[in-house]
Symmetry: C2
Subunit: 462 residues, 2 copies
Amino acid sequence: MDSKLVERLKKIVGAEHVFDKYEDRYCYTYDASFITVGKNEVPELIVYPGNKEEVAAVLMLANEHKIPIIPRGAGSNVSGGTISRNDAIVMVLTRMNKIINIDRKNMIAELEPGVITADFQTQVEKLGLFYPPDPASKAFSTMGGNVAECAGGPRGAKYGVTRDYILGLEVVLANGQILNVGARTMKSVAGYDLTRLFVGSEGTLCIITKIIVKLLPLPEAKKTMLAIFDDLYKASETVAQVFMAGIIPTTLELLDNIYIKSIEDYVKIGLPVDAEAVLLIEVDGDAAVLDKQIGIISKICKDQGAREVKVAQNEKEAEDLWVARRSAFAAVSRVRPTIIGEDCTVPRDKIPEVVKKVREISAKYDVIIAVLGHAGDGNLHATILTDERDHEEMARVEKAIEEIFIATLEAKGTLTGEHGVGRAKGKYLHLEVGKEGIDLMKALKRTMDPNNILNPGQMLGE
Amino acid sequence: MDSKLVERLKKIVGAEHVFDKYEDRYCYTYDASFITVGKNEVPELIVYPGNKEEVAAVLMLANEHKIPIIPRGAGSNVSGGTISRNDAIVMVLTRMNKIINIDRKNMIAELEPGVITADFQTQVEKLGLFYPPDPASKAFSTMGGNVAECAGGPRGAKYGVTRDYILGLEVVLANGQILNVGARTMKSVAGYDLTRLFVGSEGTLCIITKIIVKLLPLPEAKKTMLAIFDDLYKASETVAQVFMAGIIPTTLELLDNIYIKSIEDYVKIGLPVDAEAVLLIEVDGDAAVLDKQIGIISKICKDQGAREVKVAQNEKEAEDLWVARRSAFAAVSRVRPTIIGEDCTVPRDKIPEVVKKVREISAKYDVIIAVLGHAGDGNLHATILTDERDHEEMARVEKAIEEIFIATLEAKGTLTGEHGVGRAKGKYLHLEVGKEGIDLMKALKRTMDPNNILNPGQMLGE
């Protein structure tokens, strides 16, 4: 990069917040996806702005010189949304990590994008408040990243996703203009809903510099249970039954035998390694109603053929189950070196047929596919266990993934429930939204970022 | 209008669905707002398309000839969103009024835009399901209109607004292209969130031809109570207190003395005509917890100085209170002939100070301003009781409204919580979203409707 430009950027954010050495820049080529570009796409420069004015000044310069900007939080997304390119500046937002205000009276909070999700949750829970979205990465992911990706998590079944908790944003547009959108109130219809347009826009429309979040009261109590099935199909049929009984569980997770065995092998807490599937179910709310709900769900599970239903008797037992669940990806990473976590999401009553289909696809292409779904919201997370160094196997993996996509769309599902499109699914997006959908999204992108400097190549391709 | 064009339109939708007589066209100059254009803006033609293909064909023709299209459901919006203009075709969507499918297993429904909101609610409730948004106009408003305006209602305090229940849409763009956006699943991040961009776009970006709605299980029970205050300020302070106790009531309505007296005079159910304010509060959910919640809320109200708290002892008593509430606008219409229902919404803890300010503004301009708020979500509905034929008074009304807007924005509120911008607030929108916000919205509008045929002049001005 032109050294004068580097000097100007150092002036904007401070020399100590600019990294231009190769070994530093190399560290920003990857994210948590299976996509690796390594030395082919080492970014030109890394900048860590400290406030919105610095973000704006960097963007103005980048826009003038048509330099791509790759915004980055913790880089924990799994769709390649922060994979770098060799003509780009990576803009890391983690210095902007203040919780500006938690407003108990109005149950809203205001925070900078670099705040770690779990830290934020801990802080609001101390005040009896609750920020429900819980992506698996929450211990290290940033709130800005969560907003940019519209992150989900197990609690989506009851509480929805990041989108449902973002009331307003302060953003910087491609031309460096600072814009406040949305409101601090539960309701607002003042003009187009730019807030939700920016949520999930994967860094392609703006840089998020402040987030206004809606909070809930912290539920009084929760109960966790595990239902053990000898039949994966029956287990997956159970999901819709629970909702039909009028109960919306906080989480309803489906784990198949591959996951059960891998997790047990890893954490050794006595999971039933011979079971074909387990459902891990949690309900929360007023203590007075949870036993009743657990009773109804237990009966449904048994009617569906569960061989055993275990209700966690204390916090330790519940936490053990969640430790097991959270270790799932680490556990299957021991099976094969490359883990591709798909993100297809289908209407709840289609889960059985799509799970069956995934099984068939796995057999057809001789590829290991495990299923660990946020089944409560139809988010299946078919997980391909493979080895990216084995090109022959990877060719089969690619075909298997395409067949999973087709099965998902046939079931009126979506290709990505919570991981985002990024680099991983850009070429498949048209299958879901159509050419007209892509064209409209591209037109909106061009309107807002005419020089295509914001995370170019992501979501909609080049 | 050119007679050949009329013939072509008759061919598209059927001659019996086109109205070109003056007396027919005149009927479409108004809506439920206080804006009247009468004979100055009689539209050129009225068309009632019967399906998406007809909508698309009409739009293609209109786009080619640059004829404004004013989409219309029941015309029950109160922001002038369907007020006509003399160069336009009014497109009424009420023929497309089928509930296509209510899917119990997945708790979603698919319906056409002309379905009446209350009819839809009745149908889903028969199946044990629940569509929460409840605009006051629900007995006659259409779902398409609700989506286009992002309608709210009293239950917004707990359940949010129309936006929160729309999973996907089928729309026709200005150029006649039919587009499906969103999903049938609880989660989807496949590209930009066009669904939420269209929700609340007031007919300026697309015509809605199908709606995919998320439903909830119908709550098991509800309880209604009335807290009577001698002090409006104390009553309004109570609102945030209830939420701080960890309870989210379904509805929390604040009525001031003007409303109490007018309603009692109208429906005669024994409201306390000497009270300065009442809070009408409802909680719903599992029967086991409602008494506890009512107890906590009663105590908060008494601690705040309520002179009496009445809990409805049966359905009849509860329904009487709601009949009273729903008759509020009819009741105050008897006081003065012109009712201007403002829609300012503030963070809950700002309600007392803004209510006080509204009182001062009322005195300053000698204008009657009543307050009936969906206080649970800060939606204040200051209501100006006036007479539009009195130009001197209307000049004072205008000044009073502007001061209410300023007070709202100073309290970090929004100018419109649920009524929309339409014609009524277009000239004030920049106060809230800034020039940059307006510019961006206009750019999006131009991108999607380059000939400015969709409801031109609404929201963003000409």
